[in-house]
Amino acid sequence: MNDDLILRQEELVENPTARLPVCLVLDTSASMTGAPITELQEGVNTFFAQLLADDVAKYSAEVAVVTFGGNVDMAVDFAAVTRQTVPSLTAGGMTPMGEAVEKALELLQTRKDEYKRAGVDYYQPWLVIMTDGAPTDSISNASRLVDELVRGKKLAVFAIGIGKDADMNELAKLSGGRPPLKLKGLEFGQFFLWLSASVARVSQSVPGNKVDLDPVAAWASV
């Protein structure tokens, strides 16, 4: 081939990697005190570390963390994982799950609006809800919003119950029709490994891809 038929880098444009926004909504209420919060913290650390270790996911995944333990807090706002610090989780207070989910949906919508304004492509957002109890506030509005988004294929929800006291019926109301899963023991590490692998897989998908996620047997009990 002739050398003069080689394009220069300056003759091409740059586009940002398509983003996959993932919002973790984590129960940090008093009942999570002790081993559960320690294991959850380890799991979240693993999640961030695994995303950073993946060449595509580290530029594609954007994570926000909302905690609900007494108050609803945005522990981490959406940003590239390469620029984020893993939040420190502490347990205490009640379980305002409805408010937390509404906050998460608001954050996801805001982030999507930002992508649109900046001309950044994005994948269907993910909402991950983890709780070991029952909501202490009303979840009816959050449930309606989640249903609406899931029905419109605008959101994927992963609802995970922790331990025997997790109210799976209430959690089902927030999972948009997909049955919630129960964490096997305190296998947070396995769950977050699965989640990061799933994020990595989706962030490499192209139009027409049906992304099959790995089996959940390592972390979910039947």
Partner: protein, 259 residues
Amino acid sequence: MGQRVTRKLAFAAVAGRNKEDRRGTCQDAVFGKSLSGISCVALADGAGSRRLSGTGARAAVRVAVDHVLTNFDILYEKVQGGEEKDAAASIVNLIIEKLRSDRFVRRGRLEDYACTLIFAAASDDRVLLGHLGDGVAFSVSAQVAQIASSPDNGEFANETYFLTARDAVERFRLSATKLQTPVSILLASDGAAVSLLRRSDHAVAPAVTRLCEWTAARPRKEVNAALKSNLEGMFREKTTDDCSIAILADPRGRASSIV
């Protein structure tokens, strides 16, 4: 314009980096041909995880090019006369018919052949452009490149519209244009468009003009090899997706700077 003109064609497709560890084949397909003074190039992008979408894409480009070359005048008049949907239906239905034929159908369901399609055809000063899905068409006139047909995507990065979908005819866009000046057209799959179209401000890469200039000035074999080499070397570095380009160049628009 008025005078007879013979367009020059070039096209190439390469498998994306997401296929490297799975020995996957390229699901983009490109094709082009000239017949009786009419020229046509087409590009189709097979749906990611559909197992026969590469086959669907290869069938789509061949059927589309043959149909458009044979029926250029009819299609052009239909589109000019506001009967775009009739024209679109004739193209889409013919491709579907082909995919449903014994040769294909015994190997899978129709959805397994899902692919997008974009084509450009020209006869003297008339240009016909057809487009379904997330590819993009650029036009280059007097060394100025612009978008001739924008990508048609869903909201999310891995969504688009395919020929095998029920609403394919509805979404298929066709335009018929009478040219006042020489125009070259470059078609790109979404993978190649990552390097050619900046999404934030719709800026078109200088490479679009240059590739059209090469096509206008050089032999097809040489340009096809150059396209392949540039797709492999540069375009593929910016995406994991398959990358393909097809060009219909008007040699009268070629710039003196490149020869």
